[in-house]
């Protein structure tokens, strides 16, 4: 019983995992069992390479392990290694086993163009799902002995592998220690998503602004590393999470630096204005229409009154309805297949742009306001950041509906106070560096 425990355990495991294959094999005169998950390993190629890497002399089991760079593991850890895509070689009696690297099945995407962050005139390799590839991309972008990579082991079987990447000369040591400590603390839930990662890092899930800034561009990551931040790479995620995030990440990208300095400033100014427009414009509309029309010029006031003449509900309801429709259009078109996307855009465009106004359900200025808001929202860098602003504009619309322009500004002041109060690991969010 004890003698062939490895084999027996594996056979037992294979009963409910039919992709686990265990087969007898003769390696240079020694009968062995080789085992591996056929879903992760190319079996034929592996066998061929296994034979090719051994000299044509007969070897004992120990010699095989040494020549193949095998690592002996106890029976209890064997299955775990196999699940990571390794190959196990068991002695003929099944009592001992070593594992070695194998030829993986082709489950991985090759390095590709960025899907979400299209950039103009800059290197455009993007992260993929595989952690090693991603670390490799970083090493390639940033050739320096300074670049530190730490793999953090998280507890719990469902957790993914996580790599901490930082520059020893730039990142403050206490920041790295802090992040490492928080990551290795016991977690309430399996860390498989950014949300879990955020709650692991900050201790709360109720944060509107993420401490992580996700990017799929290795170039952007190396820029942030130079600013002394830490990148967290998670296996299976095709973005790197840079932490701590700052207000800079709302409007600054590294690829801006491929343009002359004044143009870069102009581009960033556009994004800052975009932030303010996306946050304030719907609220401003409500405030001006419903509470403070005296700030409009008389000509504009009259033409607005004309366009709203038969609109049956107050400006607040009007804009909330339309904002919701826009949110749904955005949400729907995100997940639509590429072939149907244009249809929805067209239908949405025609419905919103033409029919709603002609049916006098909303005034035509609302359409302009909505278009400007939506466009402005996507001038912001980072989908996360755009989402934050998309969400926060509703509170400002509500305040404006009650207090007019005063409420609008109260909302803005509150927003700025809130942002100023955020600190990640003791580092304020509101800083430009």
């Amino acid at each position: 019983m004890r003698a062939n425990s490895c084999l027996a355990d594996l056979q037992q495991a294979a009963a409910s995992r039919e992709d686990l294959k265990i087969e007898p094999f003769v390696l240079r005169g020694t009968p062995v069992w080789i085992a591996g998950l056929e879903s992760l390993i190319q079996r034929a190629k592996t066998r061929y390479e296994l034979l090719g890497s051994l000299p044509e002399i007969s070897c004992s089991f120990e010699e095989l392990a040494a020549r193949l760079f095998g690592e002996f593991v106890p029976s209890s850890e064997l299955l775990g290694k196999l699940l990571q895509g390794k190959l196990a070689v068991l002695s003929g009696d099944g009592s001992r086993a070593f594992v070695l690297e194998s030829e993986p099945a082709e489950l991985r995407r090759t390095v590709d163009l960025p899907k979400e962050e299209t950039i103009v005139g800059a290197p455009s390799a993007a992260f993929v799902e595989d952690l090693n590839t991603n670390v490799g991309l970083l090493r390639q972008t940033f050739v320096s002995a300074d670049l530190q990579v730490e793999y953090v082991s998280l507890r719990g079987s469902a957790d993914k592998r996580i790599a901490l990447v930082y520059l020893r000369s730039e990142a403050p040591p206490q920041l790295v220690t802090e992040i490492r400590g928080r990551l290795s603390a016991p977690s309430r839930q399996p860390v498989r998503s950014d949300q879990a990662l955020i709650s692991q890092l900050t201790g709360t899930r109720w944060q509107l602004i993420s401490p992580l800034y996700n990017t799929e561009l290795p170039e952007q990551v190396s820029e942030e590393l130079l600013r002394g931040r830490v990148a967290i790479l998670m296996d299976g995620q095709c973005t790197a999470a840079i932490t701590p995030s700052s207000i800079r990440n709302f409007f600054a990208m590294f690829s801006d630096k491929h343009f002359p300095y004044p143009l870069m400033l102009a581009i960033r100014a556009v994004r800052i204005i975009g932030l303010l427009v996306a946050l304030l414009l719907p609220g401003l509309y409500v405030a001006l229409i419903a509470v403070n029309p005296e700030t409009l010029k008389i000509e504009l006031a009259l033409s607005l009154a004309m366009s709203r003449l038969d609109v049956p509900y107050p400006a607040f309801i009007e804009i909330i309805i339309m904002l919701f429709i826009i949110e749904m259009v955005v949400e729907a078109s995100l997940r639509l297949p590429k072939s149907i996307g244009p249809t929805i855009t067209m239908v949405g465009g025609i419905i919103l742009g033409q029919a709603v106004v002609q049916a006098q359900l909303v005034s035509n200025l609302v359409i302009i306001v909505l278009a400007a808001t939506t466009i402005a929202n996507f001038t912001l860098v980072g989908f996360n950041n755009a989402l934050t602003i998309r969400f926060l504009k509703y509170s400002i619309v509500c305040l404006s509906a009650m207090y007019g322009v005063m409420g609008l500004f109260a909302g803005l002041i509150g927003f700025i106070l809130y942002m100023s109060s955020i600190r990640w690991y003791g580092i304020p969010f509101m800083r430009l560096r």
Binding site: K297, Y403, G404, V405, L417, S420, M430
Partner: protein, 359 residues
């Protein structure tokens, strides 16, 4: 370079707290002190502020990193209470006055039908929110406010010169100095009070007296400009009739090329940013001082209690005239806070630094 950069928020904060008052209550407060030659009371105010600021900074510079509470608490239970209680009361009064006047301004100028409780609720919530965020957050937010709103306000200020008639500067000299005998002069002295917040700054960021004084120079210039713009546009007698002369002056400017018509509304709400910085910081200071004096009281409930007190108190004031009366009644408190506190800080500073040198 790095050290200078880190001081910028502090200096901007001093500008911000003053801006909240200068663009808002300063002109009216100074205009009512005398019939003409208003630069005289304004200069006297500036001198008073400079003197008290000098005492305060001289004291604070001797014991770096200590605020009012740290300086006074070692004096013993009774003495520290005697010094800190009026200070806290005064902070509360200043925030009450600022808040209530701002609500009145909004009601007079913009939204006549909104009930007072709703306006006060919004302001109190905003101030309390700011105070909860803590002093350093307020400093940081103030940098953003300065970047967003100071240019707007300075633009508004400069656009007012379009309507100015400089002959209204005359007559220049009032030899009677009658304002010194008027109670209004003393009750309007709250306009110099923002310098007291500097006493709460040392734990947040290091202060350099020279830098603070250099910051005060443009502020004092701004005081004189803000006072004289209504005079230049409306003439002294008409300007004295107005409750918010400065905003009225902004209202008189017509800029045909602007997108909006009555931009005064936007100026007024820009002032709200600085008003909230000032009031939030005062509330936070109250929480800080009380917490340091009575370590058992945590900061946030104290701030919340102060905010509720502000709200209730603000509601109990029936009208603008009462607000002015209240200013009369608390004159003694103001004189105590403005003169006695800086003097006490200097005294403590001298004693502590001498003791440290001896040991």
């Amino acid at each position: 370079m790095q050290r200078n950069a880190s001081r910028l928020p502090t200096y901007l904060f001093i500008v911000g707290t003053h801006t909240g008052l200068i663009f808002f209550l300063y002109a009216h407060a100074t205009l009512r002190t005398t019939a003409y030659a208003h630069w005289q009371p304004a200069i006297v105010y500036i001198c008073i502020e400079a003197l008290c600021l000098f005492l305060l900074l001289a004291g604070l510079a001797r014991v770096p990193g200590k605020d009012f509470a740290d300086l006074f608490i070692p004096l013993g239970k009774v003495a520290s209470l005697l010094l800190l209680a009026p200070l806290v009361a005064y902070f509360l009064l200043v925030s009450l006055m600022v808040m209530r006047s701002f609500a009145e301004l909004v009601r007079i100028m913009f939204v006549a039908n909104t009930p007072m409780w709703a306006l006060l609720a919004l302001l109190v919530l905003l101030f309390m929110f700011g105070a909860f965020m803590g002093g350093d957050s307020i400093l940081r937010a103030n940098v953003v406010f300065s970047a967003l709103f100071l240019p707007v306000l300075l633009f508004a200020l400069s656009s007012c010169f379009k309507n100015a008639d400089f002959h209204y500067l005359y007559p220049l000299w009032n030899s009677s100095f009658d304002f010194l005998r008027k109670q209004e002069f003393y009750s309007s002295m709250f306009v110099v009070s923002p310098f007291l917040v500097i006493g709460m700054l040392p734990p947040l960021s290091p202060l350099r007296p020279r830098g603070v004084f250099l910051t005060m120079l443009p502020i004092w210039a701004l005081c004189l400009i803000a006072l004289h713009i209504p005079i230049l546009v409306f003439g002294t007698p008409a300007a004295r009739l107005l409750v918010f002369p400065f905003l009225a002056t902004m209202d008189s400017v017509s800029l045909l090329w602007l997108v909006f018509d009555r931009v005064t509304l936007f100026y007024a709400v820009s002032i709200m940013a600085f008003v909230s910085v000032h009031a939030s910081f005062l509330l936070w200071s109250i929480g800080r001082i009380v917490h340091k004096r009575f370590p058992k009281c945590p900061e946030k409930p104290v701030i919340a209690a102060a905010a509720v007190a502000l709200f209730v108190w603000g509601l109990m004031i029936p009208g603008w005239d009462w607000l002015q009366n209240m200013l009369f009644w608390e004159t003694w408190l103001r004189i105590l806070a403005v003169f006695a506190i800086p003097a006490a800080v200097l005294w403590r500073g001298l004693i502590l630094s001498r003791r440290r040198a001896a040991s």
